[in-house]
């Protein structure tokens, strides 16, 4: 009699989803990599050194995994959270006090911190193995953008709980924009943009205002950061990640000695 597992694996439903049986022989191990949507990001075969944990630390992989964790927990948080002065803080409190299995916020927050750490470690590894050298220069540049966006993701998310920690950290962080050369209200060369004696760059039109949507960290800022945090930056990161992974393959796979 066939076992339960076999019965399931031989069913029409299973076969319609998984295009190949569990690969146990060489041929199928190759085929599975080519025919599975998720696995086909990988090559079929790779130099042994390229998968050694002591070489890559799997740090890029871990960063990507954390990005996925953040996406999923982030969507769940969005179910509960409303980005308005009236509700933001309240909703976070509710998440802590009344939502069952209340570790959603923790998972998202610590996952975010962890992602900042792992992205630095990944960059560190890539530097230490000299993996930015030709032909991988451009992928390193893509990586630097990913690094910046990871920090911005974390920074925009920091404001959303709307507690003291949040607004003051963002106030301190964004005050510097006031001093942007030329475009900041208190930046050097601010007087250059001046039409007929009227200052174009004031505290209601400078770089900081553009970032905050107001003169102070307020409701407009909350809305701006929310949209950036939940929609715009993740989209850009996804696009760059696609390019990043594609380039890893096109540049000849994980680096190694010639």
């Amino acid at each position: 009699m066939p076992s339960l597992g076999e019965t399931i694996r031989n069913s029409q439903v299973w076969k319609s989803i998984f295009r190949h049986p569990m690969p146990v022989d060489r041929r199928n191990r190759i085929v599975v990599m080519l025919t599975n949507f998720f696995l086909h990001l990988h090559p079929v075969s790779i130099k042994k050194q390229g998968i050694a944990l002591s070489y890559t630390w799997c740090m890029g992989g871990v960063t990507f995994f954390l990005f996925l964790v953040e996406t999923i927990t982030g969507v769940l948080l969005m179910f509960y959270y409303r980005p308005t002065l009236q509700w933001a803080f309240h909703d976070i409190q509710e998440l802590r006090d009344t939502v069952s299995l209340g570790i959603l916020r923790e998972l998202h927050r610590w996952g975010g911190h962890a992602m900042v750490i792992t992205v630095w470690l990944h960059m560190y590894r890539v530097f230490l193995t000299g993996s930015y050298k030709p032909p991988r220069e451009f992928n390193w540049v893509v990586g630097v953008f990913l690094l910046l966006l990871t920090l911005l993701l974390s920074f925009t998310g920091y404001l959303l709980p709307w507690d003291q920690l949040a607004i003051w950290a963002i106030t301190v962080g964004s005050n510097m924009a006031r001093a942007t050369p030329v475009l900041g209200n208190e930046g050097p060369g601010q007087q250059i943009l001046n039409v007929g004696g009227i200052d174009m760059i004031t505290n209601a039109s400078d770089a900081r205002f553009g970032l905050l949507g107001a003169r102070i960290v307020g409701e407009e800022t909350l809305n701006r950061f929310y949209v950036l945090h939940c929609v715009f930056i993740p989209l850009v990161v996804s696009l760059l990640l696609a390019i990043h992974f594609w380039r890893v393959r096109k540049d000849g796979g994980i680096s190694g000695p010639l």
């Binding site: 696995l39 570790i103 923790e106 301190v172 510097m176 942007t180 050369p181």
Partner: protein, 443 residues
């Protein structure tokens, strides 16, 4: 006060008991690995002893008597690391440490030595916890990532360095790097796919434990009227916030971060060294390695650690065991270069722009007043590159060509400008080299 202390001791003990026990377990595992896998019986035996030692510490902690650093040692650390002197000692100390680590790398990459150092660091941390000031900062929920970052960086630096040292040794003997030995092609299924799966499981477990064990912080609802003191940016930006001490916001908050990003992106295009691609090495790319480590470990990470743990109210520098006293006042007597020049050297008054001056007069006054600073900066940024190109960087200049060389040189000069400015601040209280408040341009 007394009740507070009892509560605090309970809290610390509840943390330190499991903490020491974990260390004991880790040492027991290390003993097994050292003895059977690395065939180092002596180190194994020591590890057993250390494990036993941690069990005893743990027992004390469980019973509400966690051992700690003696008050005298804590006082000494506080005296050394406070105020301006603290900033100097911390910065010079970490720099000296990194330099020493660089030169002694052959020694500490040995597993037994590294393991000993890790144990010492963890023990020191445990013993320090007994100080409320230290415990409160280190265990603050949002600071936990930095503590982990420091240990993770330590671990991975050790890992990378030990591979680099081994490879450099092999290169001397004419052998290819270790990575070359794993040259054969293997199938991604199952090896890589399973490795990735295991990594995902491990990360998930770590994250779950972290999330269950540590609540996300939530203070009271945002209130504009109540400015916390200190107000700190998120931890990964604290290096930038620390730079604000030495530079105006337009430099610390805008120009220098942009240059950091630009500099990172430029690395592949200015590093012309073809060696050291795809394997760990230090000897074959010493210059690139050292520059990166100065930028990353010294100027980025240690500044973050400083900003998180040692900067308190009013951004004053506090010793690790010192209470954050909001009323601590430090005399600020920083002086601009133009003041030095006009008042102390020329014995004259500093020329000022007055409201009745025409634009042209104002410009001339400013140029006159800040002339020395402007000339010095021109020498630094424009004059130094050619001088370096014909001396220490001569070989590099020839191989890199003009543009590449100028980009690299200017990035380096900007990078070194930070420690230079720090030193000038501490030694001669220099505030700005160029001070033109009329157009918010201070450098």
């Amino acid at each position: 006060m007394h009740v507070d202390h009892v509560l605090f001791m309970q809290q610390v003990s509840a943390f330190l008991g499991p903490y020491y026990l974990t260390l004991a377990l880790l040492n027991a595992i290390a003993a097994a690995v050292l003895t059977y896998q690395l065939k180092n019986a002596r180190a194994g035996l020591i590890s057993v002893g250390v494990s036993f030692f941690f069990v005893i510490l743990s027992a004390f902690a469980w019973n509400g008597l966690p051992p700690g650093l003696p008050q005298s040692v804590r006082d000494m650390a506080n005296v050394a690391l406070t105020g301006n002197r603290g900033a100097v000692i911390y910065t010079l100390g970490t720099t000296a440490l990194l330099i020493a680590l660089f030169f002694t790398r052959k020694y500490w990459v040995r597993p037994a030595v590294a393991w000993g150092a890790l144990n010492a660091a963890l023990l020191l941390m445990g013993l320090s916890m007994i100080s409320p000031a230290f415990f409160n900062i280190v265990s603050k929920a949002d600071n936990v990532p930095i503590v982990s970052l420091v240990f993770l960086l330590g671990f991975f630096t050790w890992l990378a360095t030990s591979k680099a040292v081994a490879n450099d040794e092999r290169a001397k003997q004419g052998l290819p790097p270790l990575e070359k030995l794993d040259d054969e092609k293997i199938l991604v299924w199952p090896d890589l796919v399973y490795t990735e799966l295991i990594c995902m499981v491990v990360v998930t477990v770590v994250l779950l434990v972290w999330a269950i064990g540590l609540k996300a912080p939530l203070e009271f609802c945002a209130e504009r009227a109540k400015t916390p003191n200190p107000s700190k940016a998120p931890w990964y930006f604290l290096g930038l916030q620390e730079m604000l001490v030495y530079y105006d916001p337009w430099m610390a908050g805008v120009v220098l971060p942009s240059l950091v990003l630009f500099g990172l992106m430029a690395i592949p295009y200015i590093d012309f060294n073809k060696k050291g691609c795809g394997y760990y090495t230090i000897a074959q790319r010493k210059f690139a390695y050292c520059m990166f480590q100065i930028g990353f470990l010294e100027l980025w990470v240690t500044l973050i650690v400083l900003g998180t743990f040692l900067r308190g109210p009013n951004w004053n520098f506090f010793g690790p065991f010192e209470d954050w006293d909001t009323h601590k006042v430090l005399a600020l007597n920083n002086v601009n270069l133009s003041d030095y020049f006009w008042i102390d050297v020329l014995g004259a008054s500093v020329p000022r722009v007055t409201s009745d001056m025409t634009g042209g007069d104002a410009v001339i006054t400013v140029l006159k007043r800040e002339g020395l600073g402007i000339v010095l900066l021109l020498i630094y940024f424009i004059g130094l590159p050619p001088v370096l190109a014909s001396t220490v960087f001569r070989k590099m200049f020839v191989r890199m060509g003009f543009i590449r060389y100028m980009v690299m040189c200017n990035l380096l000069l900007f990078m070194t400008a930070l420690p230079l400015k720090m030193v000038l601040r501490w030694t001669v209280n220099l505030k700005y080299i160029i001070y033109i408040p009329e157009i918010f341009l201070n450098f």
